[in-house]
Subunit: 374 residues, 2 copies
Amino acid sequence: MSQHGVSGNPEPPIPTGSSSPKMKISPKLNRWSMGRALRSGGVKLDRPIRRTDNTHFRQATESNETEEDDKKTSAIDVEITAGKSIYLISDGTGWTAEHSVNAALGQFEDYSVNRGSSVNTHLFSWVEDEEKLIEIINQAAKEGAMCFYTLANPLMAKSAKQACDQCGVLSVDILGPIIEGIASHLGVSPSGLTRGAAGRVKTLNDAYFKRIEAIEFTIKQDDGTLPENLSKADIVLVGVSRTGKTPLSTYIAQKGYKVANVPFVMGVEPPRTLFDVEPRKVFALKIQLVVLQAIRRTRARTLGVDTQAENNYSGIDPVRKELDFASRIFAENPGWAVIDVTNKAIEETAAVILRLYHDGRDSTTSVPCISQRY
Amino acid sequence: MSQHGVSGNPEPPIPTGSSSPKMKISPKLNRWSMGRALRSGGVKLDRPIRRTDNTHFRQATESNETEEDDKKTSAIDVEITAGKSIYLISDGTGWTAEHSVNAALGQFEDYSVNRGSSVNTHLFSWVEDEEKLIEIINQAAKEGAMCFYTLANPLMAKSAKQACDQCGVLSVDILGPIIEGIASHLGVSPSGLTRGAAGRVKTLNDAYFKRIEAIEFTIKQDDGTLPENLSKADIVLVGVSRTGKTPLSTYIAQKGYKVANVPFVMGVEPPRTLFDVEPRKVFALKIQLVVLQAIRRTRARTLGVDTQAENNYSGIDPVRKELDFASRIFAENPGWAVIDVTNKAIEETAAVILRLYHDGRDSTTSVPCISQRY
C-alpha cells in the first residue's frame, strides 16, 4: 500500500487511461476466457491485482479450465473487480471521508506490501439527492464494496444507512458521531445544511482572506527569494537542497501560516535578514547523509544533468560538506529548532514544526498543543 | 464560527500572544463579581466568551465585591473557560482529528454567528504514552472539555475511552470505527502501528516523490510563468486576477496533480501554448462581477496602491470589461469547463474541478467519482 495514513493528503491519482479498476466482462467472455485473461495478466475474480507501477498490471498465474467449465458460466454476466473497493460518499466535497479513510488505510499497509493486494477507493462528492445515493449504494452492493459516508443532511445519512443495510453493504458513518458529540457538548442542534447550502455562513470571511494571503506570501518567498520579507513570515524554514522546504512550506501555508524558506548552499552566506528573524520562528531541517544522497541522485537523474554536475550535487563528499556547512550555521544559532526530516512525510514534519511553533503559548497542560478558536 | 466544515484545512491560527483561551481567575474574583461579569456579558462560567477581534478579550465590567462574598469563595480556585473546549488527541500528526472536527464544526456555525459563542480546539499530537494521555484527559475533565481521539495503537484507544468514561468526559473515537470497518471488509487485522513506528512502510516511495514533483512544478508555473511547460500540466487554471488561481493550484498540487495557472488580463493575448493544451485539462474560473469587485477593492487597499491604480483594478467598469474579455476567450474554447468560484471555498472549487477531471474515466456508475488505488 503506497498510502500512509494518519493525516495529510492522498497520494497522486492513478494516471489517465488506467484509472478504472473494474472491468465489466460480457457474457461472451466465459470462464475459460476469463482464465486466459487471468493468465495474460488482466484479471482476478474478487481478488486484487498488484500493479508493478501505476500503469500496468502484473502477470497473474495461469489456470486450466476446461470447456465443461465454460458451459456452466457462459450466460453469467460476471463483473470482475481488481482489488477490494471502498466507496466514499459525501454531500459536500468528500475531502473529510477521503482524508479519514486514507489515514485508516495506513493501518493496512501489510495488505498490499506483503500480500500483493490492492484497495481502490471511489470518492463520490456532492451527492445531494437520494436517487443518486441509492444508485451508488446499489453499485457498491454489486461490486462487493463497502461504504463510508459523510452526509451533513441527516435524512440522507439515514437513507444511506438503510440502503446499505438492505443491500448487505458494510457501512460506516464518519461524520455523524462527530457531529452528535459536538451537538451534545455544545447543547445545540447541528444545522443539517450541506456545504454551499443557502443557510451556510459566507465563506469569504477574514480568516479566509488571511489564509489566501498566507499561501500567496509563501509562494512568493519560495527558495530564498525576497529576503527582505523574511521578517514578515510566521515561520522560516532553512536547510540544504532536497530537505523538503518547498512542499513543507506550501503544506503549512494551507493551514494559514506565512512561510518563507531559505536554501543553504555550500559556501554561500545566507541573507543577513535571516539572522534578524526571531529565532523561535526559524526551523532548521536536517537529514541523514545517505538518505539525502539517494534523494539527490534520483533528482539529478530526473533533471538529466551531466555526470560532473551530478557528482557535485549528489556525490557523497559534496553532500557531506554541504550538510556540515549547514550544521555549523545551525549550531551558531542555538535558538533555531533543528528538525530531522529523514524518512518523514511532509505532514509529519509539518506536525512537528507546528507543535513546536505553538509550544508554550497555547497549552493548557504541560503537554504542548495547537489551539484554534472558531 | 468562522470555520467552514466538510473538508479542507483549518482557518489561520490565532495570532501569537492571544492564543490561550482559558483564563485563570484568582480566588479574589469571587462569586458575586463573577455573577456581575456574567450579567454584563463579559465572562461566563462554563459558557464561552466572545472576543470582538482576534487579539483582545472584551472588557469585563467592574466588580463590587463585599468582604462577605469574598469569604465564601476565597478558597476556591475557579477556572473560567472562554468558550467551550474540544480536545483532539492523536498518537500521530493529529491532522485527521483536526480535519474531521473542523468539518463537523461547519454544522454549528449558528453557535458562534448568532449566539456569539466560540469553540476552542486543542490539538495534541504524538501522544504516544499513557501517562501523557491521562494527563491530557484529566485536564479536559477540569476544563469541561470533550475529547476526540485518533489513536492507531489500540491499547491507547482503549485507555482513552476508559479514562474519559471515568472522568465523565464525553469522548468520540474518530479512527477506530473506520479501521474496524476496513479490517472487516478486507478480512485482515490492522497493524496498530503509529505513524513513524519502525514497522510502518517507508514513506519515501514513488508516489511520494511524484507528489513533491507536482508541488514543485505547480509553484514554478504560478501566475503564467513558463508557458512552454503548459503541456506538461495535468490541470491548467485560467481566469482574471482574484479568482483564486494560486491558492487553488497549490491545494490541488498537494493532492498530486501538476497544476499551471494562466492569468487573463484585459487586452493581453494568453500564451499560444495554452490553446495547444488538451481542452479537458483546462478549467476556466468565472466569478460574479460585484463579488470580484469587492475582493479586488480589499486587495488594492491591502497593497496600498494609489487611487488611479485602484480604480483601474477594482472599478466596476474595468472589472466588467476584463470579465467580458475572459468570457469571450472561454466561449471561443468550448472544450474548457467553466467553473463559477463565486463565494466558494478553495476546497469546494477543488472538489468540483477534480470531479470533472476524473469524470468519464474512473466512474463505475453513471455518477462521477474520483478513484484511487492503494
